[in-house]
């Protein structure tokens, strides 16, 4: 059990709260830096995908987990980023500039989509973003002169002012740098007034407003930041696959993204990463498991969907805080051993919350 005595306000603001944080995160970064020499090429590619999805997940986590706005059309932002990157890279723009444009355009689209969020809430916002996702997918398919329509579009390797990042290792490091950068930005945001305003909106709009928080401005801001990160993720996704087509950004992708943050654990930055790890490794695990199952089950179509569905139901029922919530409990158990009590994480019912002012 660790007790932290705070003697200074900066201690409260610091990202690494104690030596343990410094040690473990340094170890994690070192491991990730050494990964190309440790794991096989195939798993390095999977790791790259995890990093890309983490960036997208961080954005969606900010929106859904910290601002309380659910988007069921997030693949559209991924798509906007991917197509912007593809078109600009093929036109010869260097990678950093193209990435900046991809993020900025996604953010702009995000602000437009954020407009209905100012009026509708909950399930209705879900429907609005869902239909937005369909519209964007349709645009990708129909705007053939730019997107190449359903035939898809090839994208060249990222070009850093003459330096071609053609190999898997180089691209992995690029993703790693961007993922770490995105994480730091989100962590900074969450420990500053902007992030707290998001949390305030999530927990009680009426009192956020009475504290002087401009709801419309902050909701739009959250949508824009979230979409920008999805756009950056989309750009990397396009480079990684080297080929994109509209059906990669359909509703299934959107639901995968939402699944990722819910299973990872809404309202935690770790959750975005844990969710990404889950999303990428689960199909591999299922593929491995197929061989062990009888053919009737193992070779049946829709096995992956079924497993995903069951896992999601399981999490919603037994662990609403997701993988990160489970980890917190395990950690507390180990820290307090043998004094852990069963009811420690039991949610207190709050029946005092008023719905009258909503």
């Amino acid at each position: 059990m660790r007790f932290i005595f705070k003697t200074d306000y900066t201690q409260d603001i610091r990202l690494a709260k104690h030596g343990g944080h410094v040690f473990w995160y340094a170890l994690l970064v070192l491991t990730l830096l050494a990964a190309p020499w440790i794991v096989s090429e195939y798993w390095l590619a999977q790791l790259t995908f995890i990093l890309i999805y983490s960036i997208v997940g961080l954005g969606l986590m900010l929106l859904a987990g910290f601002t309380g706005l659910f988007s069921i059309g997030h693949a559209a932002f991924l798509g906007v980023g991917a197509y912007t990157q593809a078109v600009l890279t093929n036109a010869g723009l260097p990678f950093p500039l193209a990435l900046l444009c991809a993020g900025a355009l996604s953010a702009a689209v995000g602000m437009v989509v954020g407009l209905p969020a100012l009026r509708v809430k909950g399930i209705y916002l879900g429907i609005a973003t869902l239909s937005f996702g369909f519209i964007v997918e349709e645009v990708f398919a129909r705007w053939e002169s730019v997107t190449g329509g359903n035939a898809g579009i090839h994208i060249k390797a990222p070009n850093m002012f003459g330096w071609q990042l053609a190999s898997g290792e180089e691209f992995y490091f690029l993703c790693l740098v961007l993922a770490v950068g995105a994480t730091l930005l989100i962590l900074n945001l969450l420990r500053s007034p902007t992030g707290r305003a998001f949390v305030a909106i999530r927990d009680s709009e009426v009192s956020a407003q009475s504290m002087g928080i401009h709801l419309a401005r902050y909701k739009t801001m959250s949508f824009a930041i979230s979409a920008a990160l999805a756009g950056v993720g989309g750009a990397l996704y396009a480079h990684k696959l080297q080929f994109i087509s509209p059906d990669q950004f359909n509703i299934v992708q959107s639901i995968d993204l939402l699944l990722m943050v819910v299973i990872g654990g809404l309202g935690s930055v770790h959750g975005a990463f844990l969710g990404a790890i889950f999303l990428i490794t689960m199909p591999q695990v299922i593929a491995l498991g197929k061989d062990w199952l009888p053919d009737v089950v193992g070779q049946a179509p829709g096995l992956q969907g079924t497993v995903y569905g069951l896992v999601l139901i399981g999490f919603v029922l037994f662990e609403p805080l997701g993988l990160y919530g489970r980890w917190l409990k395990v950690r507390t158990y180990l820290q307090l051993f043998p004094f852990y009590r069963r009811g420690m994480f039991k949610r207190q019912k709050s029946f005092q919350k008023s719905d009258r002012l909503r």
Partner: protein, 265 residues
């Protein structure tokens, strides 16, 4: 000392066929504790919601330091120096007490999105300064033990204090307290009396409150306005209002009612 901080003139609000507030006028003077009392459904909380711009009056006008509130958006009210608590506690449940209080500093925010994203020295300084201010409020209301706890796990009495603390963190000129003692035990209510006095005398904050506990009302209030069914019944010192025949009737029924009851028995 005696100038008017907030004045409501001929305030009415109608929800469909219900006239929730009807022609209510009152002035809150700088530095006083002004209490609204009345039976359930009298329109007290509606008056609060009119001041914090959650509702817009059907007719009439509220002015704060001479500025018309109807010209402002709901989130601008806090910037003028009006802070409030809610009848059914509206805290940010899944955040710590400290974070809740820091959100109370929002109107004093000096940083921008960009300086926040990169956590520049400016944001860092602002964060330290905000914590210093918050710590003063924590000190005043004895919340040190709960600084790091999540609001969702706190008992009702503490949440009530946290909400008061959050309102104080905005450094308001006018504090609206919606039933500060509801759900508190005797001891906690006594603490609340002390704190309201401290807020009035030491911090110099004007308090407008809705309250049912008459002992608390008579201990802290300078003036009391009694309402019934959206209308004003009586305005004066706590003693005057409690003795007012209309107030007694609204709470206990009229002499005729009592007489008819007696006949029935």
């Amino acid at each position: 000392m005696m100038d008017v901080l907030l004045s409501a003139k001929d305030l009415s609000v109608r929800f469909g066929g219900v006239l929730a507030v009807n022609g209510v006028s009152f002035d809150v003077k700088r530095g006083e504790v002004f209490t609204l009392i009345g039976p359930n459904g009298a329109g007290k909380t509606t008056v609060f919601n009119l001041i914090s711009r959650i509702y817009t009056p059907t007719s009439g006008e509220i002015a704060f330091e001479g500025r018309k509130l109807s010209e402002l958006a709901p989130h601008d009210v806090a910037r003028l120096g009006i802070a409030r608590t809610f009848q059914n506690i509206e805290l940010f449940e899944h955040a710590s007490v400290l974070q809740n209080l820091l959100i109370g500093r929002h109107t004093h925010r000096e940083t921008t999105l960009w300086s926040d994203l990169f956590f520049t020295p400016k944001t860092r300084r602002a964060e330290v300064a905000a914590r210093e201010k918050v710590e003063q409020v924590i000190e005043l209301l004895d919340l040190q033990h709960h600084r790091e706890s999540l609001v969702a796990g706190l008992p009702y009495g503490v949440r009530k204090v946290v909400e008061l603390a959050r309102a104080l963190c905005t450094e308001p000129k006018l504090l609206l307290l919606d039933e500060p003692s509801s759900g508190l035990n005797v001891e906690e209510t006594d603490d609340m009396v002390f704190w309201i006095r401290d807020i009035q005398h030491e911090l110099g904050v004007t308090v407008l409150m809705v309250e049912h506990d008459m002992s608390l009302v008579s201990k802290v209030s300078d003036r009391v306005l009694a309402m019934n069914q959206g209308e004003m019944l009586a305005l004066g010192t706590p003693r005057e209002v409690q003795a007012h025949p209309g107030v007694i009737e609204a709470y206990l029924g009229s002499v005729d009612d009592v007489a008819s009851l007696r006949r029935a028995a």
